[in-house]
Amino acid sequence: MEERELDLAGRLMADMDPRLLEFLQTKVNSFVKWDLVFFFHDNPHTTDTADNIARYAGRSVGAIRTGLAELAQEGVLEENQLGDMTVYSLASDRQIRELLDRFVQASDDRQFRVKAIYHIIRGTRR
């Protein structure tokens, strides 16, 4: 069973752009982070607190806070102190922004989305 699943995963990922695959495996490895990278792609100038971003995303603050912190750790987002608030914004790094653009564009394709979702589900079950 495990072997068959690994084989399927391998086939699903085989034709994926290696950079996007790595982005998916190391950075967007949960549905909350998926929501967050899309949110920041669509709102590249937003700087806000976890509470407010949770409200915009319609998710619970707890889940969002963890996702934001991990994305900041991975360099996708920037975490800063603004007075007594911790705020998050999209990283200004050009390579990250280009990669994010490519990821979002690729997600327009249903096949890519199916593969990506399969990967995230597998990742969350581990």
């Binding site: 709102n43 100038h45 700087t47 407010n52 915009y56 603004l82 608030m85 705020v87």
Partner: protein
């Protein structure tokens, strides 16, 4: 005197040529009256006709909503963003306030990056989330307005009015004292049909048209038309013919 044209037919004439540069201009109205459209038109006109890049600061609507709404009037905000002439920023009032208070904050950098001259803040009502205490709120908005002026921006600030028809009850007029001009948008019921009225209530440092004008949101944006003729009590939302009032006051005694 130099003017910042809104590009809204009829409104610039009412404002004696346009808004004054580096001023804060309040546009208040009930939902659907056209506050955001007026603000977007002001930003679009700056970019397209005056070579003045602009910023839209939104506290509730997503940028996509502005792209969509603008597209319905033929204004390509996405393209303007790609060309570095526009930035649509969604944030919260508390973060915006703190960001503008610090030197070299994100908004300050965006203004400098695109050379923004105009800003639409949609809407000022959201500052009430920071404080409902009138004196503190006034202080916060005062600081916010000054920071926009510091950046050399001419601002259109929208504010929501709860009442659909007539005067809004409990409106905190402290904010009205802080702004340089104050435009009211109102629904008016005339013979079982809803019309829209626009009034320039105040314009600091300039004369302005005191008339109450009809306006319409067309496929090209807002167009301010002729004043309401032969009626009074327009801003009550339920105007009367002046002749009826005359009859009521003098004839039916």
């Amino acid at each position: 005197m130099e003017r910042v044209k809104t590009g809204i037919p009829g409104l610039d004439e009412m404002l004696e040529g346009g808004l004054l540069p580096q001023t804060a201009n309040l546009v208040e109205g009930a939902p659907g009256t056209g506050k955001t459209t007026l603000g977007m038109q002001f930003i679009c006109h700056g970019i397209v006709a005056c070579g003045e890049p602009g910023l839209i600061l939104t506290f509730e609507e997503f940028p996509q909503q502005y792209y969509r709404d603008a597209a319905s009037f033929g204004w390509d905000f996405r393209q303007m963003e790609r060309e570095g002439k526009l930035r649509v920023v969604m944030s919260s009032p508390e973060v915006t306030k703190a960001d503008l208070e610090q030197v070299g904050g994100r908004i300050e950098r965006l203004v400098r990056e695109i050379g923004a001259k105009r800003i639409l803040v949609d809407s000022l009502s959201h500052f009430e989330r920071i404080s409902e205490e009138p004196a503190r709120l006034r202080g916060i908005v005062y600081g916010f307005i000054n920071s926009l002026k510091r950046e050399g921006l001419t601002a259109v600030l929208t504010r929501e009015s709860v009442a659909l028809l007539g005067e809004a009850e409990g409106t905190d007029d402290a904010i009205a004292f802080l702004v340089d001009s104050y435009v009211l948008l109102r629904y008016v019921e005339i013979e079982s049909a809803i019309h829209k009225a626009l009034l320039v209530l105040k314009m600091r440092g300039s004369n302005h048209d005191k008339g109450i004008r009809q306006f319409e949101v067309t496929s090209r944006g807002i167009e301010v038309r002729a004043p309401f003729e032969g009626r009074e009590g327009i801003m009550s939302g339920n105007p009367r013919r002046m002749l009826d009032s005359f009859v009521q006051a003098f004839v039916r005694r």
